[in-house]
């Protein structure tokens, strides 16, 4: 998005487009990336409810992976993931490796 000059800004700094923050990809902040191991996933959706960045994709009530455009790599999902029989369904990996 091109920065606007002061003459182009709507008075009162009103944002007219709801949810326009989606144009700002925060995924570039990430230092480590969550990896989903589907075999260990019990579909508890804790990763989805606890994600601060709404970066867990859920379709028809099922977790389907991550949205790396926005995931900041905080790792809450991996820590909260109960996994299956002690094996985590989400693990953090260093970005760029």
């Amino acid at each position: 998005m091109k920065l606007k000059g002061w003459k182009d800004v709507i008075p009162g700094a009103v944002c007219t487009e709801a949810g326009s923050a989606l144009k700002f990809k925060t995924g570039s902040w990430r230092a480590s990336r969550p990896k989903w191991i589907e075999d260990n996933c019990i579909q508890c959706l804790f990763c989805w409810i606890y994600c601060p960045d709404m970066a867990v994709n859920v379709k028809d009530g099922k977790m389907t992976g991550f949205n790396y455009d926005y995931c900041k790599g905080c790792g809450i999902c991996a820590l909260e993931c109960p996994g299956k029989k002690g094996n985590k369904a989400i693990v953090m990996e260093e970005e760029g490796k």
């Binding site: 700094a13 944002c15 700002f24 902040w29 989805w48 601060p52 949205n67 790792g75 809450i76």
Partner: protein, 325 residues
């Protein structure tokens, strides 16, 4: 995850999220998790107001807004007053027949904008009886401007304006109990919640929004920058806050207190303090008295809360996944 009340994550996940990705809160921040849960719990059209704070500056930067609902920011001290005005206008328009929708009003503020700077406007809005829910996300300091102490900062915490060192051992005063202060306005509903116990939080928001009149919710919001902790422990720390009874989950409905979660085993407060760098100095031998005093403060408040409990503990907040023990 079926529950008696029918609230499941599966069902919630089918709802449209009203706070989008692309906001610029820090990685691992508790506040967007709380806002997401509050908005998921609400049904129908919502109008939100925001006090100045992390949430406000990071969710609406210039042309980018992460909100999918009408949202207004005015100043630091007047989120409740601003929303009072919006709510009054809505009632007037409804009376005039110019609007037919049933709209819910929710204000969000951090502890700085709620406990300190916005307390007068919040108190006024509650006293005038506006039909709104005020949600305070309490991270225990002015995190947005660089971790200055607020009246919500816990005893002993190290902040940039009460730095732990050779002169003082962190904050020497106790935090104030805002939930009780709001309840003392004799409003129909005041509650305390934590994002770790998502179902308890969602139930409380649903209950609050079903009541006409002023409502207040105080929600613990971990901040890894200010708490000097890891980016992945927001939920773990908020859970420990509840399990150590530092942050008890309760509601006060029409004057009757109900503790909504009683930990099977009350954990020692140090479990909550240890992972946080802001309490690091409390573990030095010369500050042992502070740990003792802090534990005493928490014990006293918990016991007094239990005494006022009307005894009905029917909510079973979620903490564990099915099959995970």
């Amino acid at each position: 995850m079926a529950t008696p009340t029918g609230i499941t994550l599966k069902e919630l996940s089918k709802k449209e999220g009203l706070l989008t990705s692309g906001h610029r809160m820090c990685a691992g921040c508790g506040a967007p998790i709380i806002v997401k849960m509050v908005l998921l719990a609400a049904e129908g059209p919502i109008i939100a107001a925001n006090a100045t704070g992390c949430l406000e500056v990071s969710t609406c930067i210039s042309d980018y807004t992460a909100w999918k609902i009408p949202w207004i920011h005015n100043a630091f001290e007047n989120a409740a007053a601003t929303l009072s005005g919006v709510e009054t206008m809505y009632r007037s328009l409804k009376k005039q027949g110019k609007i037919s929708k049933d709209i819910k009003f929710i204000a969000f503020g951090g502890d700085g904008g709620t406990y300190d700077i916005g307390l007068q406007s919040l108190s006024g809005a509650m006293e005038r009886g506006h039909d709104m829910l005020y949600v305070c996300y309490d991270n225990g300091a002015y995190m947005n401007t660089g971790i200055q102490r607020s009246s919500a900062t816990p005893f002993g915490a190290d902040t940039t304006t009460c730095p732990a060192g050779s002169v003082i051992p962190g904050k020497t005063q106790n935090r104030k109990n805002l939930t009780k202060i709001m309840a003392a306005h004799n409003i129909p509903y005041a509650a305390q919640a934590s994002p770790s116990h998502w179902m308890d939080l969602v139930k409380k928001v649903k209950k609050a929004l079903s009541i006409t009149g002023p409502k207040f919710m105080n929600i613990l919001s971990p901040c890894n920058r200010g708490w000097r902790s890891r980016t992945d422990d927001a939920i773990m720390l908020s859970r420990l806050g509840v399990e150590t009874c530092y942050w008890p989950l309760y509601e006060i409905e029409d004057g009757a207190t109900k503790v909504t979660f009683k930990p099977k085993e009350k954990k020692p407060l140090v479990d909550f303090l240890k992972p946080q760098g802001r309490f690091k100095h409390l573990f030095a031998p010369e500050n042992e008295w502070m740990l003792k005093k802090f534990q005493e403060i928490v014990d006293k408040e918990w016991e007094s809360l239990l005494k006022s409990d009307s005894g009905r503990c029917d909510s079973k907040p979620s903490g564990k996944a099915p099959g995970a023990e």
